[in-house]
C-alpha cells in the first residue's frame, strides 16, 4: 500500500523579523510571500515508509521552516528582483578593476549543452573525452598567451588562483631546502587579495610604496628584497591602469634576491598579444576568466582563476592535471605526482565557466583577442581624454584598460565627494565606476569602459560626469543627496553592521553576533 507522507510543516509567521516598510517597486521576501499549503509538484510523492529505516534520533525533529509558494509566484518574485539590478545587459557598467564587458550569448548556450552540463565530475575519462579535450586545448591557448610552460585550470576564482600560485612558491622554496623565505612583497596599490593570500599561505606581507608616477619604487623594492623574500606579487598593468615600465629591472631584482616573481594577471585584458609575462621572466601568474575572457560575473561569482607557471614550478602544480596521451585524454591519478601541492578544491575545475572562456577565445582567435586589448585601451584613453579638463588625472603615463581620476579639487571647491558623484551617476542612468580604490589616490574613481562599449556610450558617460561637476557648483545639495530615482537610496550601513540582521527569522544563536 502506498500513501503520501504526512505534511506537518507550517510557516510560523510569528517569527518574522522586525517589519519594515517595503517601498514601492520593491519586493517582499520569500518568507513574507509564503502561505502554508502552496507549492508546485516537482517530483512524485514517495511511499510512506521511505524513512522508517532511519533511526528517529537521526531524523529532523522540527519543521523545516522553508517558504511555501507556487511556481508563478516564484517566477514573479525573482523576475521582479532581477529588475532591481543594474547589469551589463541593461547599461554601461564601467566598474574599474572588474572588467564589465559584454557576455556573449553563444557562451551561455554552449555551457548548457547536455554533453557538458550533465557530465558527472567523477565520470570515467572515457566518458569525458570532449571536456578533457576542451580543457587541454584551453590550457595550450593560455600557455601561448602567457608565455609560460604549463597551466592549471582548477582554481575557482582569481583569489583562489593566487593562493594556488603562492602555495606553489612555498613548495618550490621548501623543495630546495630554503626555509628562510617567510615574506611576500606587494606594492601599496595591490588588490587586497594579494596580502590576504600571502597571509593564508603562511607568509608575512611586506608593502612597498609606489612612486609619484604610480610605478613600483625600485629603490624601496630593493630595500625590501632579501634572503627572506619568497615572492613579489605584482599586478601588471597595475590597479592604477599603468604598465610597469621598469618591469625588466623589477624582475631582475626579484630573481637576484632568489625570490620568485608572481604576476597578478587580473588586467591581462589590456595586453593580450602585447606582453607575455612568462617570456618577460615572471615565474607564475593567474588569469581571471570573468575579466579577460568574458565569463559572466554572476552578481559576484562564479569565476575561474587559471594559473600559469614557468618550468621551475611545473612539478608543484595541483593535481589532477589533464594529460594528453596517444589517442585520448586523461586525468592524473591520486599519488601519481608526489611533488604536487595537492588538491585545491573538489574535483578538477569549474568546467562550466571554462567552456564559456573557451568559446570566447575561439570566437575571437589570436587577432581578435589582440583587437580586444587594443580597443579596451583605446576606450580608456579616449574617456580619460574627455574628462581630463574636469577631473584630476594623477598620472601622466598612457593608460591601459582603465584609469584613475580624482575629485580632490571638486571636494575642496564644493564639498561634493567622489561618493556623491558616483551616486549622482545612478540618476543619469550609469553604473558608477569603482570609487576609493586604489587606496593610494584620494577621492578617486577607477574607470574601466571595456572594449564592448560604443563611442556614443563613452561620450554620453563623459558628458554626464562633466554635467555633475557643473551641478556640484550650482546646486551641491542635489548631488549630495543623490541618487533620487533609484528604488532605495543611501542605505543605513552603520545600523546594518551594528545590529546585523542576516536572516529573516530571529537569530537563534547563543549570543548576539556583534557585541561591539
Amino acid at each position: 500500500m502506498t500513501t503520501t507522507l504526512e505534511r506537518p510543516e507550517q510557516s510560523p509567521a510569528a517569527e518574522l523579523g522586525p517589519s519594515r516598510v517595503v517601498g514601492p517597486g520593491l519586493q517582499p521576501t520569500l518568507d513574507e510571500l509564503s502561505r502554508p499549503g502552496r507549492g508546485t509538484t516537482t517530483v512524485p510523492h514517495p511511499v510512506a515508509d521511505a524513512l522508517e529505516r532511519i533511526p528517529q534520533s537521526q531524523r529532523r525533529a522540527g519543521p523545516l521552516g522553508l517558504p511555501e509558494l507556487n511556481e508563478p509566484e516564484v517566477i514573479r518574485h525573482f523576475v521582479n528582483l532581477s529588475q532591481l539590478n543594474y547589469s551589463v545587459d541593461t547599461g554601461f557598467y564601467p566598474l574599474g578593476s572588474c572588467t564589465m564587458k559584454y557576455n556573449p550569448k553563444i557562451n551561455e548556450w554552449a555551457a548548457r549543452l547536455p554533453g557538458f552540463a550533465a557530465l558527472h565530475p567523477l565520470a570515467p575519462d572515457a566518458a569525458a573525452q570532449g571536456t578533457l579535450e576542451l580543457l587541454w586545448e584551453l590550457e595550450q591557448w593560455l600557455i601561448a598567451i602567457s608565455g609560460m610552460k604549463a597551466v592549471t585550470l582548477q582554481p575557482a576564482a582569481g583569489a583562489h588562483g593566487e593562493l594556488t600560485g603562492i602555495l606553489m612558491v612555498r613548495a618550490y622554496h621548501a623543495a630546495r631546502g630554503d626555509h628562510e623565505r617567510t615574506e611576500v612583497i606587494v606594492p601599496d596599490s595591490s588588490h587586497g587579495t594579494n596580502p590576504a593570500t600571502a597571509s593564508m599561505a603562511g607568509f608575512k606581507t611586506v608593502t612597498v610604496k609606489s612612486d609619484a608616477e604610480g610605478q613600483i619604487d625600485l629603490e624601496a623594492l630593493n630595500d625590501a628584497l632579501g634572503p627572506r623574500t619568497a615572492a613579489v606579487m605584482l599586478t601588471n598593468p597595475s590597479t592604477l591602469g599603468l604598465f610597469e615600465r621598469r618591469i625588466e629591472q623589477v624582475i631582475a631584482a626579484v630573481h637576484g634576491a632568489g625570490a620568485l616573481a608572481y604576476m597578478d594577471g587580473a588586467n591581462m585584458n589590456a595586453i593580450l598579444g602585447k606582453f607575455r609575462p612568462g617570456a618577460a621572466g615572471f615565474d607564475v601568474m593567474h588569469f581571471n576568466t570573468h575579466k579577460t575572457f568574458s565569463t559572466p560575473h554572476g552578481g559576484g561569482g562564479p569565476g575561474a582563476g587559471p594559473v600559469a607557471v614557468n618550468e621551475a614550478l611545473v612539478p608543484f602544480l595541483p593535481w589532477p592535471r589533464v594529460l594528453r596521451e596517444t589517442n585520448a585524454f586523461r586525468l592524473e591519478q591520486r599519488g601519481e605526482r608526489p611533488s604536487s601541492i595537492g588538491r585545491v578544491r573538489s574535483y578538477q575545475g569549474s568546467a562550466g565557466v571554462l567552456v564559456r572562456a573557451y568559446a570566447y577565445m575561439l570566437a575571437h582567435g589570436g587577432e581578435g583577442l589582440e583587437q580586444v586589448s587594443e580597443d579596451a585601451v583605446l576606450a580608456a584613453n579616449y574617456l580619460r581624454h574627455r574628462l581630463a579638463d574636469t577631473y584630476e588625472m594623477p598620472f601622466a603615463q598612457v593608460s591601459k584598460h582603465e584609469f584613475v581620476a580624482s575629485a580632490q579639487r571638486l571636494r575642496a571647491e564644493t564639498g561634493v565627494r567622489m561618493l556623491d558623484v558616483a551616486k549622482r551617476l545612478i540618476d543619469k542612468g550609469f553604473h558608477p565606476p569603482t570609487i576609493y580604490f586604489p587606496l593610494t589616490v584620494e577621492e578617486c574613481m577607477l574607470v574601466e569602459p571595456t572594449e564592448t562599449e560604443s563611442v556614443e556610450t563613452l561620450d554620453a558617460f563623459a558628458d554626464a560626469l562633466i554635467e555633475i561637476v557643473h551641478e556640484a557648483h550650482t546646486d551641491p545639495a542635489l548631488v549630495k543627496s543623490a541618487p533620487h530615482d533609484s528604488p532605495v537610496r543611501r542605505l543605513d550601513e552603520a545600523t546594518a553592521a551594528r545590529q546585523p540582521d542576516l536572516r529573516w527569522r530571529a537569530m537563534t544563536g547563543r549570543e548576539t553576533p556583534c557585541p561591539d
Binding site: 520593491l26 519586493q27 520569500l30 516537482t42 514517495p46 521511505a50 524513512l51 533511526p55 531524523r59 522553508l66 511556481e71 528582483l81 532581477s82 539590478n85 545587459d89 557598467y93 566598474l95 572588474c98 553563444i106 555551457a111 548548457r112 547536455p114 558527472h120 565530475p121 572515457a126 566518458a127 571536456t131 583569489a159 612555498r170 596580502p195 590576504a196 600571502a198 597571509s199 603562511g202 606581507t205 604598465f243 606582453f275 560575473h297 552578481g299 559576484g300 562564479p302 601541492i341 595537492g342 573538489s346 574535483y347 568546467a351 567552456v355 582567435g365 589570436g366 585601451v377 583605446l378 579616449y382 564592448t452 560604443s454 532605495v488 542605505l491 543605513d492 550601513e493 546585523p500 542576516l502
Partner: protein, 449 residues
C-alpha cells in the same frame, strides 16, 4: 567574430582625439624588448562554426549513462524555474553589489539564500562566498583554528576525500596539523579514537570534522561526536549534504558550531565539477570568523527596507593581510540557483526529494544484494552506500561497457585500505528508476559470473 562596436571611423576618431595616428602609440609603455607581436592561436570562428565545433566536443562526452555515481555530486531533477531565472542577464551580467541602490535584486537574493540555508542547518550566519564543498570545508577548519587559537584539527577519514585533500593543501600554508580519525567496521567514525585524540594534553584540538551522511553514505553519531569535541574545548564541524537536511537532524540541533557542504544538489548542474557552491553556516557568535561576503537587512534614508553588504571589516579589500580569508568572490549566481530551487520545491518538495532518494536506495540495496553484492557497512544510510563485489575495478569497467556507471570504486579514494578493495560506492536519487535498478542488477549478475 568579435563583440566590439567600433568601426574603422570610430577608431580613427578616438585616436585622432588623442593626437595619435596608430594604436601602437598606446602600447609604447611596454619596453620594446618585451613587446610581443601577436598571438599564435587558432583562427576566429563565426557563430555557426563555433556552435558546430562545441556540439562536436560535447558529443564526445557521455553524460547519458545509467548512473549510480554520486560521491559528493548528485543528479537531481532541476525545476525549469531555475534556469529561467539564471538566464536573466540582470542577474548574471551584474557584479558584486557595491552600489546597493542599483543592486537590490542580487542583495535580496543573497539574504534569502542566507535565510534558507540557516533554516536548513539550524545555524545563524551563512556565507554565499565559497567555491565548493572542498574549499568551504578548508575554510571551516581554518575558522576553528582562528577561534580556538589551536593548530590541530581532527577529520574523520569518512569525510569526502576531496574535502580532506583540499583542507590538507590549505593547511600546508599555516603549517597546521590535520589528523585523520579511523572508522569502525559499521562505517561510522571511531569515537573511541576521537576521544583518545582529544585527550592528548600536548596537542589540543581546534576542531573536529565529521560527515553526515559520511562519504560511505553512513549516518554518523553526530550528537555524541559534538559532545566529545566540546568537552575538549574544540569546535564541531558537520560536513553535510543539503537535500538530506530536509529529513535528517539539523546540525544546529545536534551541537554543530559550523556546517559546511557541497551546495550542488540544490539546483546546480553537474558540469564536470563546477562551478559549484560551498555551503558554510555558523553559530552567531562565530560571525567575525566567517570568511566572505555577508548581506544584511537595513533601511534606507527614507525608511524603506533595503539590503546591503555588511560586516565588511572582515574582508580582504579592507583588512588586507589581516582579513579572515582572501575570498573576493561571492558565489552569487550559484547561490541564486539554490535559492530558486528551494523556493520552487518548498519544504514538502525538498522532503519528497530526500525521501524518494532514500526509497530508491533501499530498492537498489535489495536488488544488488540479490545479485550477489551485499552492503559492506551495517550502520544506517540515507541514499548512498557501499557494496562488496569481487574485483571492483574490473566490474566497474565491464559495466561501463554496457552503459552503466556503477558508482565509484572506493579503491580510487582509499588505495591503502584492503577492506575497500572490493567496494563500489553507489547512490540513488529521485531520478533513479526501477528500470535503471533492474538493469544494473542483471548486468552485475552477468559480468560477475
Amino acid at each position: 567574430m568579435t563583440y566590439g562596436p567600433h568601426t574603422a571611423t570610430d577608431r580613427e576618431r578616438m585616436l585622432g582625439a588623442l593626437g595619435l595616428d596608430s594604436i601602437d602609440g598606446l602600447f609604447d609603455d611596454i619596453p620594446a624588448a618585451m613587446r610581443a607581436s601577436g598571438l599564435d592561436l587558432p583562427a576566429a570562428l563565426d557563430e555557426l562554426s563555433l556552435a558546430r565545433h562545441l556540439e562536436t566536443l560535447a558529443a564526445r562526452n557521455q553524460p547519458g549513462l545509467t548512473s549510480f555515481l554520486g560521491a559528493g555530486a548528485y543528479r537531481h531533477h532541476i525545476p525549469a524555474t531555475v534556469d529561467a531565472i539564471l538566464s536573466r542577464g540582470e542577474f548574471y551580467t551584474a557584479y558584486t553589489p557595491y552600489q546597493p541602490e542599483i543592486s537590490q535584486g542580487t542583495l535580496q537574493t543573497i539574504y534569502e539564500y542566507q535565510s534558507l540555508i540557516a533554516a536548513l542547518t539550524g545555524l545563524d550566519v551563512v556565507s554565499a562566498s565559497h567555491y565548493d564543498g572542498g574549499a568551504a570545508t578548508a575554510e571551516a577548519a581554518l575558522m576553528t583554528v582562528r577561534q580556538t587559537k589551536r593548530d590541530r584539527v581532527l577529520v574523520s577519514r569518512a569525510v569526502h576525500r576531496h574535502f580532506v585533500d583540499t583542507t590538507r593543501t590549505y593547511f600546508e600554508g599555516g603549517r597546521l596539523a590535520l589528523d585523520e580519525l579511523p572508522t569502525n567496521a559499521d562505517g561510522t567514525t571511531d569515537l573511541a579514537a576521537l576521544e583518545q585524540a582529544l585527550a592528548d594534553p600536548d596537542r589540543p584540538v581546534a576542531g573536529v570534522l565529521l560527515g553526515q551522511p559520511n562519504t560511505f553514505g553512513i549516518l554518523e553519531p553526530m550528537a555524541e561526536a559534538a559532545r566529545l569535541a566540546h568537552d575538549a574545548g574544540a569546535l564541531f564541524v558537520a560536513v553535510v549534504e543539503p537535500v538530506s537536511l530536509a529529513v535528517l537532524a539539523a546540525p544546529g540541533d545536534y551541537g554543530a558550531d559550523i556546517a559546511v557542504g557541497e551546495g550542488q544538489p540544490l539546483g546546480i548542474s553537474l558540469q564536470y565539477g563546477g562551478p559549484y557552491l560551498g555551503l558554510l553556516a555558523a553559530r552567531a557568535d562565530l560571525v567575525r570568523q566567517v570568511p566572505g561576503r555577508l548581506v544584511g537587512r537595513t533601511t534606507d534614508v527614507d525608511g524603506r527596507r533595503a539590503f546591503v553588504m555588511t560586516l565588511r571589516a572582515r574582508e580582504q579589500d579592507i583588512r588586507r593581510d589581516k582579513a579572515a580569508s582572501n575570498i573576493c568572490t561571492n558565489q552569487a549566481l550559484c547561490a541564486l540557483a539554490a535559492t530558486v530551487h528551494v523556493a520552487t520545491l518548498g519544504p514538502h518538495g525538498l522532503r519528497d526529494v530526500a525521501a524518494l532518494g532514500a526509497a530508491r536506495a533501499a530498492e537498489l540495496e535489495r536488488a544488488l544484494a540479490a545479485a550477489g553484492a551485499p552492503r559492506i557497512h551495517t550502520a544506517p544510510y540515507l541514499n548512498e552506500f557501499a557494496v562488496r563485489v569481487p574485483d571492483a575495478r574490473r566490474i566497474h569497467a565491464a559495466l561501463l561497457e554496457q552503459g552503466i556507471l556503477a558508482g565509484l570504486a572506493l579503491a580510487d579514494w582509499y588505495p591503502e585500505d584492503p577492506a575497500l578493495a572490493d567496494a563500489l560506492l553507489v547512490c540513488a536519487t529521485e531520478v533513479t528508476t526501477s528500470d535503471d535498478i533492474n538493469r544494473f542488477a542483471s548486468a552485475l549478475r552477468e559480468v560477475a559470473a
